[in-house]
Symmetry: C2
Subunit: 396 residues, 2 copies
């Protein structure tokens, strides 16, 4: 397998982008990544688009070849990759393997979603299309519903408390205020005599024991990467990032069929595969972006990838170990919780944030000092398809 580098990373602010079409968002993010890569007149060989809802929400298919034309990248190859909320990482994976094979040298990977086209139950229903079509969807289970049940089990088994979950909300929304690309730009506060609208006392139950601020928002957004061979990356003369490790695993499609539903086997397996390929261990990681669609997931994933023992993730968050400057800074971007979660865009955005970290180009209040190794977890369905990447800084 040839080594694969990332030389371009771009993102547009996530949030509500009524003025933009899905194609607009994918184009803007792509142009930023291409500009960042500095390929000049050189085109890319292929384009991978990560998207889940183009058909359902925009009534549009063949988005990838349409994007190639719009970006004047003809005759680059193109296809769309869909893997629920893990679509982004799946697209990066296919870009990685395509360059590793030797067939392509330069690939644009862009992920995005225009989800605010639908609101309320329709948005929840759109996301629920990834549940089991016979065993789950017809019974009305939603992703927040699954997450609520998962949280209750996790609390009972591992002693996670509401205070642990709150530590994630507070940290990630605070980081969101520092991230110009974040959807949720307000910090949470603990309230007081004069409660602010964002005080945690104004945090209604959403799917017990999860409250509103335990859930990520429904976002529009897009993010893009330019992948290439190490030879091309070296020519840039700038620090670049290599994909040192990758893993992916599938678990049962229905949550109910798992022997122990608190055991996120696909996260463990994907991380093990990625660490084995990278020849690294969890303590080597400088910074991580985990898939905190629900606060409990940041805690559970931080344990399943090996940063903390089972039952220690929540306490570690409360103790500040996952904050900037802590033992292992997690979701310095604000995570899905604050950056937002345009499903097809998330897996790409996580890697964009890690690339920025590893290139040491973020402002001081967001930069993990001397970050050398980054990790991402992109969590599809309810852990039924998980991808993990390990990225490493290279100083040429």
């Amino acid at each position: 397998m040839r080594d694969v580098a990332i030389i371009g990373a771009g993102m547009i602010p996530f949030g509500r982008r009524d003025e933009d079409t899905l194609m607009d968002m994918l184009s803007y993010a792509s142009l930023k990544a291409l500009d960042d890569a500095g390929l000049g007149d050189k085109s890319v060989d292929a384009v991978y688009v990560a998207n889940m809802g183009g058909g359902m929400l925009q009534h549009q298919s063949a988005i990838a070849s349409s994007l190639v034309d719009r970006l004047s990248l003809l005759p680059a190859a193109a296809e769309t990759i869909e893997n629920g909320p893990a679509s982004g990482a799946s697209a990066v994976k296919n870009g990685l393997l395509a360059i590793a094979s030797g067939y392509y040298d330069t690939i644009l990977v862009v992920g995005g979603e225009k989800m605010r086209e639908v609101t309320g139950w329709r948005a929840t229903d759109f996301v629920a299309t990834m549940t089991h079509p016979q065993a789950e969807y017809p019974y009305g289970i939603t992703l927040p519903g699954m997450a609520g049940m998962f949280t209750r089990l996790y609390m009972e088994k591992y002693g996670v408390t509401r205070e642990h979950l709150l530590a994630i909300s507070l940290k990630n929304q605070e980081m969101g205020t520092l991230n110009p690309y974040a959807h949720v730009e307000m910090a949470l506060d603990r309230g007081g005599i004069y409660d602010s609208p964002h005080a945690i006392v104004n945090n209604p139950v959403s799917a017990d024991p999860l409250h509103l601020y335990d859930l990520c928002p429904v976002s529009d957004g897009a993010a893009a990467l330019v992948l290439c061979t190490v030879e091309i990356a070296k020519k840039t003369g700038k620090p670049y990032v290599v994909i040192a490790g990758f893993g992916q695993a599938t678990d049962t499609h229905t949550l109910a069929e798992r022997e122990d539903p608190t055991d996120l086997k696909a996260v463990t397996l994907a991380a093990q595969q990625a660490f084995a390929m990278a020849k690294l261990k969890p303590s080597d990681v400088s910074v991580a972006e985990l898939h905190d669609a629900f606060t409990i997931l940041e805690i559970a994933e931080s344990e399943h990838v090996g940063f903390f023992k089972k039952g220690e993730g929540g306490k570690a968050a409360v103790a500040g170990k996952t904050r900037l400057g802590g033992q292992i800074p997690i979701n310095v971007s604000g995570g899905l919780k604050a950056r937002g979660h345009p499903v097809g865009g998330t897996g790409v955005a996580q890697i964009v944030d890690i690339v920025w970290q590893l290139r040491h180009e973020l402002p001081e209040n967001r930069q993990v000092k001397n970050a050398e190794v980054g990790l991402t977890v992109n969590f599809g369905g309810f852990g039924n398809n998980v991808l993990c990447f390990i990225l490493r800084r290279v100083q040429p």
Copy 2:
């Protein structure tokens, strides 16, 4: 790049399959391919699903990981690939490159579509979602409409006649009667004093100059392949097929923007890339499956890939050069015209048919004698994303 082999091929009869869900069809085809591959207890490393309408027609996403679970292939990696009607070949491409990279050894690629869930204008509208979202779709252009205009231009420029088009319909529907997997199982006839219901005199105009029997049907169906390393293929001790060449190119998303709309640049480029990689030329090909969603496309593609000079494809069809036993047998399966066109399934089904040809296992009335090299063209949008594969028989 490591060489990649195909050791399993399976298909279910295309047509109207009201009794089956999309997941059923994907499962049945997968099991046939896995059974054919004879992997025994050995699982596959990854699964690629080609599908275009799961979201729009079945309101279902994350199909790939759901399928992995249903087939008991956990924890195999999985994702869905969408590229309009070229989704099938795009999924095979990603399987090819993933094994070529050295990361995976065995991959299941399955493509399928349940299109009969919608009928009439809704089916046409579903397919039209692949047209340009601003420049084409809002104006009501359909794929048959585009094909009609393309045919008119092709007739004017190259002297193609209705008789040429009819030669394709007659050949492919005749071959369909011999194919147990074909959707359209009736032969066309030229009619007479007592016109049969399928006589070409009962062939109304659909999109002038195209008539009903110039169009492929709207089909349910699925097809699957097992890809692996050559080392694994050799162990089977049986003849197998290698992917000798692959090419893919994108053209402008709107037909109107092409300098010469009769010039299917993406077909030419994809074929050139595939022949260059395979170190073969058009005259080396024993059998081809071309994307005859409309009869004109079989003629145009047979010229663009290099079997015939421009303007000669129609005459060659009338002269029988593309029939079984002719110079280059095309669509011996019946093609999209008769086998049917479940969009996500087509690109995979084309390769399944070529694999059967190259393994010399079809009945005599369908088998191309001593077939050594096969070619497929999977045509996305209206030629805006085209993939070409060249397959070669290996006798161990």
